[in-house]
Protein backbone atom coordinates (compact mmCIF):
# COMPACT_ATOMS: atom_id res chain seq x y z
CA UNK A 1 0.00 0.00 0.00
CA UNK A 2 1.82 3.10 -1.19
CA UNK A 3 -0.64 5.94 -0.65
CA UNK A 4 0.52 6.92 2.88
CA UNK A 5 4.08 7.28 1.57
CA UNK A 6 2.96 9.97 -0.86
CA UNK A 7 2.14 12.07 2.20
CA UNK A 8 4.87 10.87 4.57
CA UNK A 9 7.83 11.34 2.21
CA UNK A 10 7.37 15.08 1.46
CA UNK A 11 6.41 15.83 5.07
CA UNK A 12 9.53 14.06 6.33
CA UNK A 13 11.63 15.82 3.69
CA UNK A 14 10.28 19.22 4.80
CA UNK A 15 11.10 18.36 8.42
CA UNK A 16 14.61 17.13 7.63
CA UNK A 17 15.36 20.13 5.42
CA UNK A 18 14.55 22.55 8.22
CA UNK A 19 16.55 20.40 10.61
CA UNK A 20 19.83 19.95 8.75
CA UNK A 21 20.12 22.95 6.45
CA UNK A 22 22.54 25.70 7.27
CA UNK A 23 23.31 28.74 5.17
CA UNK A 24 23.99 26.60 2.10
CA UNK A 25 21.13 24.95 0.28
CA UNK A 26 23.01 21.88 -0.99
CA UNK A 27 21.44 19.39 1.39
CA UNK A 28 18.03 20.89 0.89
CA UNK A 29 18.36 20.38 -2.88
CA UNK A 30 19.58 16.80 -2.53
CA UNK A 31 16.81 15.88 -0.10
CA UNK A 32 13.99 17.51 -2.00
CA UNK A 33 15.03 16.14 -5.39
CA UNK A 34 15.41 12.64 -3.93
CA UNK A 35 12.01 12.92 -2.25
CA UNK A 36 10.37 14.19 -5.40
CA UNK A 37 11.90 11.49 -7.62
CA UNK A 38 10.66 8.77 -5.30
CA UNK A 39 7.24 10.45 -5.19
CA UNK A 40 7.02 10.53 -8.99
CA UNK A 41 8.03 6.88 -9.19
CA UNK A 42 5.42 5.92 -6.60
CA UNK A 43 2.73 7.99 -8.31
CA UNK A 44 3.45 6.47 -11.74
CA UNK A 45 3.52 3.00 -10.22
CA UNK A 46 0.21 3.54 -8.41
CA UNK A 47 -1.46 4.99 -11.53
CA UNK A 48 -0.43 2.17 -13.84
CA UNK A 49 -1.17 -0.63 -11.39
CA UNK A 50 -4.58 0.67 -10.29
CA UNK A 51 -6.51 0.55 -13.57
CA UNK A 52 -10.21 0.19 -12.88
CA UNK A 53 -9.69 -1.01 -9.28
CA UNK A 54 -10.01 0.97 -6.07
CA UNK A 55 -7.79 0.44 -3.07
CA UNK A 56 -8.70 1.79 0.36
CA UNK A 57 -6.17 2.28 3.12
CA UNK A 58 -7.62 2.57 6.62
CA UNK A 59 -5.41 4.34 9.09
CA UNK A 60 -4.23 2.70 12.33
CA UNK A 61 -6.28 -0.47 12.08
CA UNK A 62 -9.77 0.97 12.61
CA UNK A 63 -12.55 0.21 10.13
CA UNK A 64 -13.99 2.74 7.74
CA UNK A 65 -16.65 4.93 9.35
CA UNK A 66 -14.46 5.38 12.42
CA UNK A 67 -11.17 6.14 10.74
CA UNK A 68 -9.57 8.42 8.19
CA UNK A 69 -9.17 6.50 4.97
CA UNK A 70 -7.02 7.08 1.90
CA UNK A 71 -8.61 6.10 -1.41
CA UNK A 72 -6.60 5.19 -4.47
CA UNK A 73 -8.45 4.98 -7.75
CA UNK A 74 -7.64 5.98 -11.32
CA UNK A 75 -8.59 9.65 -10.79
CA UNK A 76 -6.37 10.13 -7.75
CA UNK A 77 -3.53 8.23 -9.42
CA UNK A 78 -3.82 10.46 -12.48
CA UNK A 79 -3.77 13.66 -10.42
CA UNK A 80 -0.83 12.39 -8.33
CA UNK A 81 1.17 11.78 -11.50
CA UNK A 82 0.45 15.32 -12.74
CA UNK A 83 1.32 16.96 -9.42
CA UNK A 84 4.59 15.10 -8.94
CA UNK A 85 5.67 15.40 -12.56
CA UNK A 86 5.29 19.17 -12.53
CA UNK A 87 6.84 19.35 -9.06
CA UNK A 88 9.97 17.49 -10.22
CA UNK A 89 10.52 19.81 -13.20
CA UNK A 90 9.77 22.78 -10.96
CA UNK A 91 12.50 21.66 -8.54
CA UNK A 92 14.96 21.27 -11.42
CA UNK A 93 14.12 24.79 -12.51
CA UNK A 94 14.36 26.13 -8.95
CA UNK A 95 17.93 25.02 -8.21
CA UNK A 96 19.66 27.96 -9.85
CA UNK A 97 16.65 30.27 -10.09
CA UNK A 98 15.99 30.44 -6.36
CA UNK A 99 19.62 31.26 -5.45
CA UNK A 100 18.91 34.90 -6.30
CA UNK A 101 16.83 35.11 -3.11
CA UNK A 102 18.10 34.95 0.48
CA UNK A 103 18.00 31.69 2.51
CA UNK A 104 16.91 29.34 -0.27
CA UNK A 105 16.61 26.30 2.03
CA UNK A 106 13.37 27.73 3.43
CA UNK A 107 12.03 27.63 -0.11
CA UNK A 108 12.62 23.88 -0.36
CA UNK A 109 10.98 23.20 3.01
CA UNK A 110 7.89 25.19 2.00
CA UNK A 111 7.88 23.52 -1.41
CA UNK A 112 7.78 20.09 0.22
CA UNK A 113 4.89 21.23 2.43
CA UNK A 114 3.05 22.36 -0.69
CA UNK A 115 3.51 18.89 -2.20
CA UNK A 116 2.34 17.29 1.08
CA UNK A 117 -0.85 19.30 1.00
CA UNK A 118 -1.65 18.56 -2.61
CA UNK A 119 -0.85 14.84 -2.39
CA UNK A 120 -2.96 14.67 0.76
CA UNK A 121 -5.94 16.40 -0.83
CA UNK A 122 -5.78 13.97 -3.74
CA UNK A 123 -5.23 10.82 -1.70
CA UNK A 124 -7.71 11.30 1.11
CA UNK A 125 -11.16 9.79 1.31
CA UNK A 126 -12.32 11.83 4.29
CA UNK A 127 -13.85 15.23 3.73
CA UNK A 128 -12.46 16.96 6.83
CA UNK A 129 -9.03 15.55 6.12
CA UNK A 130 -9.34 17.10 2.66
CA UNK A 131 -9.90 20.46 4.35
CA UNK A 132 -6.85 20.03 6.59
CA UNK A 133 -4.52 19.08 3.73
CA UNK A 134 -5.93 21.93 1.67
CA UNK A 135 -4.97 24.35 4.44
CA UNK A 136 -1.45 22.89 4.58
CA UNK A 137 -1.03 23.43 0.84
CA UNK A 138 -2.49 26.94 0.98
CA UNK A 139 -0.36 27.92 3.96
CA UNK A 140 2.78 26.98 2.06
CA UNK A 141 1.44 28.73 -1.04
CA UNK A 142 0.86 32.04 0.80
CA UNK A 143 4.42 31.97 2.11
CA UNK A 144 5.86 31.04 -1.27
CA UNK A 145 4.00 33.82 -3.08
CA UNK A 146 5.60 36.30 -0.65
CA UNK A 147 9.02 34.63 -0.95
CA UNK A 148 10.55 37.36 -3.09
CA UNK A 149 10.04 39.86 -0.20
CA UNK A 150 9.15 42.80 -2.43
CA UNK A 151 6.22 45.13 -1.77
CA UNK A 152 4.09 43.76 -4.64
CA UNK A 153 4.66 40.20 -3.49
CA UNK A 154 3.45 40.95 0.04
CA UNK A 155 0.42 42.69 -1.42
CA UNK A 156 -0.41 39.71 -3.66
CA UNK A 157 0.16 37.25 -0.82
CA UNK A 158 -2.13 39.22 1.50
CA UNK A 159 -4.87 39.34 -1.12
CA UNK A 160 -4.46 35.63 -1.78
CA UNK A 161 -4.50 34.81 1.94
CA UNK A 162 -7.69 36.81 2.56
CA UNK A 163 -9.52 35.22 -0.38
CA UNK A 164 -8.16 31.82 0.58
CA UNK A 165 -9.38 32.07 4.16
CA UNK A 166 -12.83 33.25 3.08
CA UNK A 167 -13.17 30.26 0.78
CA UNK A 168 -11.77 27.86 3.39
CA UNK A 169 -14.29 29.13 5.95
CA UNK A 170 -17.11 28.54 3.47
CA UNK A 171 -15.85 25.03 2.79
CA UNK A 172 -15.69 24.34 6.54
CA UNK A 173 -19.29 25.57 6.83
CA UNK A 174 -20.29 23.16 4.06
CA UNK A 175 -18.51 20.29 5.80
CA UNK A 176 -20.34 21.17 9.02
CA UNK A 177 -23.73 21.10 7.32
CA UNK A 178 -22.88 17.79 5.64
CA UNK A 179 -21.90 16.30 8.99
CA UNK A 180 -25.07 17.60 10.61
CA UNK A 181 -27.24 15.92 8.00
CA UNK A 182 -25.34 12.66 7.46
CA UNK A 183 -23.41 12.08 10.74
CA UNK A 184 -20.30 10.89 8.95
CA UNK A 185 -17.19 12.38 7.39
CA UNK A 186 -16.09 9.56 5.08
CA UNK A 187 -16.91 10.72 1.57
CA UNK A 188 -18.38 7.43 0.37
CA UNK A 189 -20.66 7.20 3.41
CA UNK A 190 -21.77 10.81 2.92
CA UNK A 191 -22.64 9.96 -0.68
CA UNK A 192 -24.61 6.90 0.37
CA UNK A 193 -26.47 8.81 3.10
CA UNK A 194 -27.32 11.74 0.85
CA UNK A 195 -29.17 9.45 -1.55
CA UNK A 196 -31.74 8.79 1.16
CA UNK A 197 -32.07 12.45 2.21
CA UNK A 198 -34.06 15.36 0.88
CA UNK A 199 -32.27 16.76 -2.24
CA UNK A 200 -32.64 20.25 -0.70
CA UNK A 201 -29.71 19.42 1.60
CA UNK A 202 -27.55 18.58 -1.39
CA UNK A 203 -28.43 21.84 -3.12
CA UNK A 204 -27.64 24.01 -0.09
CA UNK A 205 -24.33 22.32 0.61
CA UNK A 206 -23.40 22.24 -3.07
CA UNK A 207 -24.01 25.98 -3.33
CA UNK A 208 -21.63 26.65 -0.42
CA UNK A 209 -19.04 24.30 -1.90
CA UNK A 210 -19.42 25.85 -5.33
CA UNK A 211 -18.39 29.25 -3.96
CA UNK A 212 -15.65 27.76 -1.79
CA UNK A 213 -14.01 25.57 -4.41
CA UNK A 214 -14.83 28.09 -7.13
CA UNK A 215 -12.63 30.57 -5.26
CA UNK A 216 -9.91 27.94 -5.04
CA UNK A 217 -10.02 27.10 -8.74
CA UNK A 218 -10.47 30.78 -9.76
CA UNK A 219 -13.37 30.47 -12.20
CA UNK A 220 -14.52 33.78 -13.49
CA UNK A 221 -16.59 35.57 -10.85
CA UNK A 222 -14.16 34.34 -8.17
CA UNK A 223 -10.89 34.97 -9.99
CA UNK A 224 -9.73 38.32 -8.57
CA UNK A 225 -6.79 36.97 -6.54
CA UNK A 226 -5.27 34.76 -9.22
CA UNK A 227 -3.55 37.23 -11.58
CA UNK A 228 -1.82 38.97 -8.65
CA UNK A 229 -0.76 35.85 -6.79
CA UNK A 230 0.36 33.83 -9.79
CA UNK A 231 2.28 36.66 -11.40
CA UNK A 232 4.05 37.81 -8.21
CA UNK A 233 5.36 34.42 -7.09
CA UNK A 234 8.82 33.18 -8.14
CA UNK A 235 8.56 31.50 -11.57
CA UNK A 236 8.77 27.85 -10.44
CA UNK A 237 6.06 28.56 -7.86
CA UNK A 238 3.90 30.32 -10.45
CA UNK A 239 4.09 27.16 -12.48
CA UNK A 240 3.17 25.03 -9.47
CA UNK A 241 0.25 27.31 -8.58
CA UNK A 242 -1.08 27.71 -12.10
CA UNK A 243 -0.17 24.25 -13.29
CA UNK A 244 -1.31 22.05 -10.45
CA UNK A 245 -2.50 23.87 -7.30
CA UNK A 246 -5.70 25.27 -8.79
CA UNK A 247 -6.39 21.82 -10.23
CA UNK A 248 -5.62 19.76 -7.14
CA UNK A 249 -7.49 22.06 -4.75
CA UNK A 250 -10.12 23.36 -7.13
CA UNK A 251 -10.96 21.11 -10.05
CA UNK A 252 -10.08 17.79 -8.40
CA UNK A 253 -12.11 18.66 -5.30
CA UNK A 254 -15.02 19.80 -7.49
CA UNK A 255 -14.92 16.51 -9.38
CA UNK A 256 -14.79 14.42 -6.20
CA UNK A 257 -17.51 16.35 -4.41
CA UNK A 258 -19.94 17.17 -7.19
CA UNK A 259 -19.56 14.03 -9.27
CA UNK A 260 -18.70 11.31 -6.75
CA UNK A 261 -20.54 12.54 -3.65
CA UNK A 262 -23.49 14.54 -4.95
CA UNK A 263 -23.95 12.38 -8.05
CA UNK A 264 -23.66 15.25 -10.56
CA UNK A 265 -26.99 17.10 -10.11
CA UNK A 266 -27.98 18.56 -13.53
CA UNK A 267 -28.50 22.08 -12.14
CA UNK A 268 -24.86 22.30 -11.15
CA UNK A 269 -23.67 20.89 -14.46
CA UNK A 270 -25.48 23.78 -16.16
CA UNK A 271 -23.85 26.21 -13.72
CA UNK A 272 -20.44 24.71 -14.55
CA UNK A 273 -21.09 25.22 -18.26
CA UNK A 274 -22.13 28.85 -17.78
CA UNK A 275 -19.23 29.68 -15.43
CA UNK A 276 -16.82 27.87 -17.71
CA UNK A 277 -17.87 29.77 -20.81
CA UNK A 278 -17.79 33.12 -18.96
CA UNK A 279 -14.26 32.28 -17.82
CA UNK A 280 -13.15 31.32 -21.32
CA UNK A 281 -14.35 34.51 -23.01
CA UNK A 282 -13.76 37.19 -20.36
CA UNK A 283 -10.36 35.92 -19.22
CA UNK A 284 -9.12 35.58 -22.81
CA UNK A 285 -10.27 39.12 -23.50
CA UNK A 286 -8.50 40.42 -20.37
CA UNK A 287 -5.35 38.48 -21.30
CA UNK A 288 -5.25 40.21 -24.69
CA UNK A 289 -4.72 43.59 -23.00
CA UNK A 290 -1.84 42.55 -20.74
CA UNK A 291 1.77 43.56 -21.35
CA UNK A 292 3.21 41.82 -18.27
CA UNK A 293 4.06 38.31 -19.52
CA UNK A 294 3.33 36.48 -16.26
CA UNK A 295 0.07 38.36 -15.77
CA UNK A 296 -1.01 37.41 -19.27
CA UNK A 297 -0.23 33.78 -18.49
CA UNK A 298 -2.22 34.00 -15.25
CA UNK A 299 -5.29 35.25 -17.10
CA UNK A 300 -4.74 32.51 -19.64
CA UNK A 301 -4.89 29.99 -16.77
CA UNK A 302 -8.36 31.25 -15.83
CA UNK A 303 -9.55 30.80 -19.38
CA UNK A 304 -8.09 27.28 -19.67
CA UNK A 305 -9.75 26.35 -16.34
CA UNK A 306 -12.92 27.52 -18.07
CA UNK A 307 -12.36 24.90 -20.79
CA UNK A 308 -11.97 22.17 -18.17
CA UNK A 309 -15.11 23.28 -16.34
CA UNK A 310 -17.06 23.47 -19.61
CA UNK A 311 -16.04 19.91 -20.41
CA UNK A 312 -17.10 18.72 -16.95
CA UNK A 313 -20.39 20.60 -17.24
CA UNK A 314 -21.37 19.03 -20.57
CA UNK A 315 -21.13 15.77 -18.67
CA UNK A 316 -21.11 13.27 -21.53
CA UNK A 317 -18.40 10.62 -21.56
CA UNK A 318 -16.50 12.27 -24.40
CA UNK A 319 -16.65 15.72 -22.77
CA UNK A 320 -15.25 14.41 -19.50
CA UNK A 321 -12.50 12.65 -21.44
CA UNK A 322 -11.64 16.03 -22.97
CA UNK A 323 -11.70 17.77 -19.59
CA UNK A 324 -9.47 15.14 -17.97
CA UNK A 325 -7.04 15.27 -20.87
CA UNK A 326 -7.04 19.08 -20.72
CA UNK A 327 -6.14 18.97 -17.00
CA UNK A 328 -2.95 17.10 -17.91
CA UNK A 329 -2.21 19.24 -20.97
CA UNK A 330 -2.77 22.53 -19.20
CA UNK A 331 -0.47 21.48 -16.36
CA UNK A 332 2.29 20.72 -18.88
CA UNK A 333 2.13 23.73 -21.18
CA UNK A 334 1.27 26.36 -18.58
CA UNK A 335 4.18 25.26 -16.38
CA UNK A 336 6.45 25.41 -19.42
CA UNK A 337 5.26 28.95 -20.24
CA UNK A 338 5.92 30.10 -16.68
CA UNK A 339 9.44 28.61 -16.86
CA UNK A 340 9.98 30.56 -20.08
CA UNK A 341 8.77 33.74 -18.36
CA UNK A 342 11.05 32.98 -15.41
CA UNK A 343 14.15 32.44 -17.52
CA UNK A 344 13.45 35.61 -19.52
CA UNK A 345 12.99 37.51 -16.24
CA UNK A 346 16.27 36.12 -14.95
CA UNK A 347 18.18 36.83 -18.15
CA UNK A 348 16.80 40.29 -18.99
CA UNK A 349 15.47 41.50 -15.63
CA UNK A 350 12.07 42.34 -17.08
CA UNK A 351 8.85 40.59 -17.93
CA UNK A 352 7.27 43.48 -19.84
CA UNK A 353 6.63 42.32 -23.40
CA UNK A 354 7.44 45.78 -24.77
CA UNK A 355 10.96 45.67 -23.31
CA UNK A 356 11.68 42.22 -24.68
CA UNK A 357 12.63 41.68 -28.29
CA UNK A 358 14.23 39.13 -30.52
CA UNK A 359 15.62 36.53 -28.14
CA UNK A 360 16.47 33.83 -30.68
CA UNK A 361 20.19 34.50 -30.43
CA UNK A 362 20.45 35.10 -26.70
CA UNK A 363 18.05 32.48 -25.32
CA UNK A 364 17.60 29.79 -28.00
CA UNK A 365 16.15 27.08 -25.73
CA UNK A 366 13.69 29.43 -24.09
CA UNK A 367 12.53 30.84 -27.42
CA UNK A 368 11.98 27.51 -29.11
CA UNK A 369 10.25 25.87 -26.13
CA UNK A 370 8.02 28.92 -25.69
CA UNK A 371 7.00 28.56 -29.33
CA UNK A 372 6.03 24.91 -28.74
CA UNK A 373 4.10 25.82 -25.58
CA UNK A 374 2.30 28.72 -27.26
CA UNK A 375 1.20 26.59 -30.20
CA UNK A 376 0.12 23.91 -27.78
CA UNK A 377 -1.97 26.19 -25.57
CA UNK A 378 -3.48 27.87 -28.62
CA UNK A 379 -4.63 24.47 -29.82
CA UNK A 380 -2.73 23.81 -33.03
CA UNK A 381 -2.04 20.24 -34.18
CA UNK A 382 -0.02 18.09 -33.51
CA UNK A 383 0.42 19.44 -29.98
CA UNK A 384 -1.57 18.13 -27.03
CA UNK A 385 -3.76 21.20 -26.48
CA UNK A 386 -5.34 20.70 -29.90
CA UNK A 387 -6.70 17.26 -29.09
CA UNK A 388 -8.25 18.10 -25.75
CA UNK A 389 -9.92 21.26 -27.03
CA UNK A 390 -11.14 19.43 -30.12
CA UNK A 391 -12.67 16.68 -27.97
CA UNK A 392 -14.46 19.24 -25.78
CA UNK A 393 -15.85 21.08 -28.83
CA UNK A 394 -16.98 17.85 -30.54
CA UNK A 395 -18.64 16.72 -27.30
CA UNK A 396 -20.46 20.06 -27.02
CA UNK A 397 -21.79 19.68 -30.56
CA UNK A 398 -22.79 16.06 -29.98
CA UNK A 399 -24.82 16.95 -26.87
CA UNK A 400 -26.68 19.73 -28.72
CA UNK A 401 -24.86 22.57 -26.93
CA UNK A 402 -24.05 24.48 -30.11
CA UNK A 403 -23.69 27.85 -28.36
CA UNK A 404 -21.13 26.48 -25.93
CA UNK A 405 -19.22 24.92 -28.82
CA UNK A 406 -19.10 28.30 -30.55
CA UNK A 407 -17.90 29.95 -27.33
CA UNK A 408 -15.15 27.35 -27.02
CA UNK A 409 -14.05 27.99 -30.62
CA UNK A 410 -14.00 31.77 -30.05
CA UNK A 411 -12.04 31.22 -26.83
CA UNK A 412 -9.52 29.11 -28.75
CA UNK A 413 -9.09 31.82 -31.38
CA UNK A 414 -8.61 34.50 -28.69
CA UNK A 415 -6.00 32.23 -27.05
CA UNK A 416 -4.20 32.00 -30.39
CA UNK A 417 -4.36 35.80 -30.68
CA UNK A 418 -2.75 36.58 -27.35
CA UNK A 419 -0.09 33.95 -27.74
CA UNK A 420 0.74 35.38 -31.15
CA UNK A 421 1.17 38.67 -29.28
CA UNK A 422 3.57 36.98 -26.85
CA UNK A 423 5.60 35.52 -29.70
CA UNK A 424 5.52 38.67 -31.81
CA UNK A 425 6.61 41.11 -29.08
CA UNK A 426 8.30 38.87 -26.55
CA UNK A 427 10.40 36.36 -28.42
CA UNK A 428 10.53 37.37 -32.09
CA UNK A 429 10.41 41.17 -31.78
CA UNK A 430 12.32 43.78 -33.70
CA UNK A 431 15.10 44.81 -31.30
CA UNK A 432 17.68 42.05 -31.34
CA UNK A 433 18.97 41.38 -27.82
CA UNK A 434 22.39 39.81 -27.54
CA UNK A 435 23.75 40.45 -24.05
CA UNK A 436 22.00 38.93 -21.05
CA UNK A 437 22.52 39.57 -17.34
CA UNK A 438 22.57 36.00 -16.11
CA UNK A 439 22.85 32.83 -18.19
CA UNK A 440 20.08 30.25 -18.11
CA UNK A 441 21.49 27.24 -16.27
CA UNK A 442 21.44 23.62 -17.32
CA UNK A 443 18.74 22.64 -14.82
CA UNK A 444 16.40 25.33 -16.09
CA UNK A 445 17.05 24.34 -19.70
CA UNK A 446 16.45 20.67 -19.04
CA UNK A 447 13.20 21.40 -17.17
CA UNK A 448 11.96 23.37 -20.17
CA UNK A 449 13.07 20.73 -22.68
CA UNK A 450 11.42 17.89 -20.74
CA UNK A 451 8.09 19.70 -20.71
CA UNK A 452 8.40 20.74 -24.37
CA UNK A 453 8.96 17.11 -25.34
CA UNK A 454 5.98 16.10 -23.20
CA UNK A 455 3.83 18.68 -25.05
CA UNK A 456 4.24 16.53 -28.16
CA UNK A 457 4.49 13.10 -26.58
CA UNK A 458 1.38 13.37 -24.43
CA UNK A 459 -0.73 13.59 -27.60
CA UNK A 460 -0.36 9.82 -27.97
CA UNK A 461 -2.60 9.31 -24.94
CA UNK A 462 -5.51 9.88 -27.29
CA UNK A 463 -4.70 6.83 -29.47
CA UNK A 464 -7.38 4.25 -28.55
CA UNK A 465 -5.08 1.46 -27.35
CA UNK A 466 -3.20 3.78 -25.00
CA UNK A 467 -6.32 5.71 -24.00
CA UNK A 468 -7.95 2.53 -22.74
CA UNK A 469 -5.28 2.03 -20.09
CA UNK A 470 -4.69 5.68 -19.14
CA UNK A 471 -7.59 8.08 -19.59
CA UNK A 472 -10.60 5.75 -19.77
CA UNK A 473 -10.34 4.47 -16.16
CA UNK A 474 -10.23 8.10 -14.96
CA UNK A 475 -13.34 8.95 -16.97
CA UNK A 476 -15.15 5.89 -15.64
CA UNK A 477 -14.43 6.96 -12.04
CA UNK A 478 -15.91 10.40 -12.72
CA UNK A 479 -18.90 9.35 -14.75
CA UNK A 480 -20.24 6.48 -12.66
CA UNK A 481 -22.68 7.84 -10.10
CA UNK A 482 -22.51 5.06 -7.53
CA UNK A 483 -19.18 3.50 -8.47
CA UNK A 484 -17.27 5.41 -5.82
CA UNK A 485 -19.68 4.38 -3.06
CA UNK A 486 -19.62 0.74 -4.18
CA UNK A 487 -15.86 0.70 -4.44
CA UNK A 488 -15.18 2.17 -1.00
CA UNK A 489 -17.98 0.73 1.14
CA UNK A 490 -18.91 -2.52 -0.54
CA UNK A 491 -15.60 -4.32 -0.49
Amino acid sequence: MILPFLIIIPLLAAFLITLISGEKDNWAIVLSVLAEMSLLTLALFSFFTTGYDTYVYEMSGWKIPLTICLVQDALSGFMLVIVNLIALTSLMFSISYIRQYSSPWKYYALFMLLITGMNGVIATGDIFNLFVFMEIALFAAYALVAFGAKAEEYEAAFKYAVMGSISSTLILLGIGILYASTSTLTMAHIAAELQTKDPQVTYWVAAVFLVGFGLKSAVMPFHAWLPDAHSSAPAPISSMLSGVLIKALGIYAIIRIFFNIFGAPPVFLTIFMVLGSISIIVASYLALGQWDLKRLLAYSSISQIGFILLGLGIGSKLAILGAVFHILNHAIFKSLLFYNAGSVEMALGTRDLRKMGNLRGALPVTTSTSMIASLSVAGLPPFNGFFSKLIIIIAAVQSQHIIYAIIAVIGSLLTLAYFMKVQRYGFHGETVINEIKKPVSLGMKSAMIILAVLCVVVSILIIPGIREITLDPVVSVIISKTGYIQAVIGR
Binding site: V162, L173, L185
Partner: protein, 112 residues
Protein backbone atom coordinates in the same frame (compact mmCIF):
# COMPACT_ATOMS: atom_id res chain seq x y z
CA UNK B 1 -33.53 27.59 15.77
CA UNK B 2 -32.80 31.11 17.02
CA UNK B 3 -29.19 30.19 17.90
CA UNK B 4 -28.51 29.06 14.33
CA UNK B 5 -29.89 32.32 12.97
CA UNK B 6 -27.78 34.36 15.38
CA UNK B 7 -24.78 32.27 14.44
CA UNK B 8 -25.39 32.86 10.76
CA UNK B 9 -25.76 36.59 11.46
CA UNK B 10 -22.33 36.53 13.08
CA UNK B 11 -21.01 34.82 9.95
CA UNK B 12 -22.54 37.53 7.76
CA UNK B 13 -21.01 40.23 9.98
CA UNK B 14 -17.63 38.61 9.37
CA UNK B 15 -18.11 38.44 5.58
CA UNK B 16 -19.35 42.04 5.51
CA UNK B 17 -16.28 43.22 7.41
CA UNK B 18 -13.85 41.22 5.29
CA UNK B 19 -15.31 42.59 2.07
CA UNK B 20 -15.89 46.23 2.97
CA UNK B 21 -13.29 47.32 5.54
CA UNK B 22 -10.26 49.26 4.35
CA UNK B 23 -7.95 48.61 7.27
CA UNK B 24 -5.71 45.51 7.11
CA UNK B 25 -6.15 44.74 10.81
CA UNK B 26 -9.92 45.06 10.61
CA UNK B 27 -9.95 42.64 7.68
CA UNK B 28 -7.95 40.13 9.72
CA UNK B 29 -10.38 40.57 12.65
CA UNK B 30 -13.35 40.06 10.33
CA UNK B 31 -11.84 36.83 9.04
CA UNK B 32 -11.49 35.78 12.67
CA UNK B 33 -15.17 36.54 13.32
CA UNK B 34 -16.15 34.45 10.28
CA UNK B 35 -14.08 31.56 11.52
CA UNK B 36 -15.56 31.75 15.03
CA UNK B 37 -19.09 31.81 13.63
CA UNK B 38 -18.48 28.64 11.63
CA UNK B 39 -16.78 26.93 14.57
CA UNK B 40 -19.68 27.85 16.83
CA UNK B 41 -22.18 26.57 14.29
CA UNK B 42 -20.46 23.19 14.03
CA UNK B 43 -20.37 22.91 17.84
CA UNK B 44 -24.08 23.77 17.91
CA UNK B 45 -24.86 21.01 15.41
CA UNK B 46 -23.53 18.51 17.94
CA UNK B 47 -25.12 20.14 21.02
CA UNK B 48 -28.01 18.45 22.72
CA UNK B 49 -30.16 19.84 25.50
CA UNK B 50 -29.04 18.48 28.86
CA UNK B 51 -26.36 16.27 27.37
CA UNK B 52 -23.19 15.43 29.26
CA UNK B 53 -19.57 15.38 28.17
CA UNK B 54 -18.39 12.48 26.11
CA UNK B 55 -16.33 10.28 28.41
CA UNK B 56 -16.89 6.71 29.52
CA UNK B 57 -18.76 6.36 32.82
CA UNK B 58 -18.09 3.70 35.45
CA UNK B 59 -21.06 1.41 34.82
CA UNK B 60 -21.02 1.07 31.05
CA UNK B 61 -22.29 3.36 28.32
CA UNK B 62 -23.01 7.05 28.77
CA UNK B 63 -26.24 7.28 26.79
CA UNK B 64 -26.84 11.00 27.08
CA UNK B 65 -23.59 12.46 25.75
CA UNK B 66 -23.09 15.13 23.11
CA UNK B 67 -21.35 14.16 19.86
CA UNK B 68 -17.61 14.54 20.50
CA UNK B 69 -16.46 14.44 16.87
CA UNK B 70 -17.32 18.07 15.97
CA UNK B 71 -15.40 19.22 19.04
CA UNK B 72 -12.34 17.39 17.76
CA UNK B 73 -12.85 18.96 14.32
CA UNK B 74 -13.12 22.42 15.82
CA UNK B 75 -9.89 21.99 17.76
CA UNK B 76 -8.14 21.25 14.46
CA UNK B 77 -9.82 24.14 12.72
CA UNK B 78 -8.88 26.55 15.53
CA UNK B 79 -5.23 25.55 15.17
CA UNK B 80 -5.40 26.11 11.41
CA UNK B 81 -7.02 29.50 11.93
CA UNK B 82 -4.29 30.45 14.40
CA UNK B 83 -1.70 29.67 11.76
CA UNK B 84 -3.46 31.62 9.06
CA UNK B 85 -4.01 34.60 11.37
CA UNK B 86 -0.33 34.62 12.35
CA UNK B 87 0.56 34.54 8.65
CA UNK B 88 -1.79 37.41 7.86
CA UNK B 89 -0.46 39.52 10.74
CA UNK B 90 3.13 38.88 9.65
CA UNK B 91 2.24 39.88 6.09
CA UNK B 92 0.50 43.04 7.28
CA UNK B 93 3.55 44.04 9.36
CA UNK B 94 5.71 43.67 6.25
CA UNK B 95 3.16 45.59 4.19
CA UNK B 96 3.26 48.40 6.75
CA UNK B 97 7.07 48.49 6.53
CA UNK B 98 6.92 48.77 2.74
CA UNK B 99 3.95 51.12 2.27
CA UNK B 100 3.81 52.98 5.63
CA UNK B 101 0.04 52.53 5.80
CA UNK B 102 -2.62 49.99 6.74
CA UNK B 103 -5.15 51.40 4.28
CA UNK B 104 -5.78 48.92 1.46
CA UNK B 105 -6.89 51.65 -0.94
CA UNK B 106 -3.33 53.02 -0.77
CA UNK B 107 -1.69 49.58 -1.13
CA UNK B 108 -2.26 49.29 -4.84
CA UNK B 109 0.72 48.61 -7.00
CA UNK B 110 -0.84 45.59 -8.66
CA UNK B 111 -3.68 46.27 -11.04
CA UNK B 112 -5.20 45.14 -14.31
Amino acid sequence: MIVYILCFTLFLVGIYGALTKRDLIKIILSLGIMGYAVNLMIILFAYKEGGSFAILVKDGINSNMVDPLPQALILTSIVIELGITAMLVALSIRLFQKYKTFDITKIRRLSG
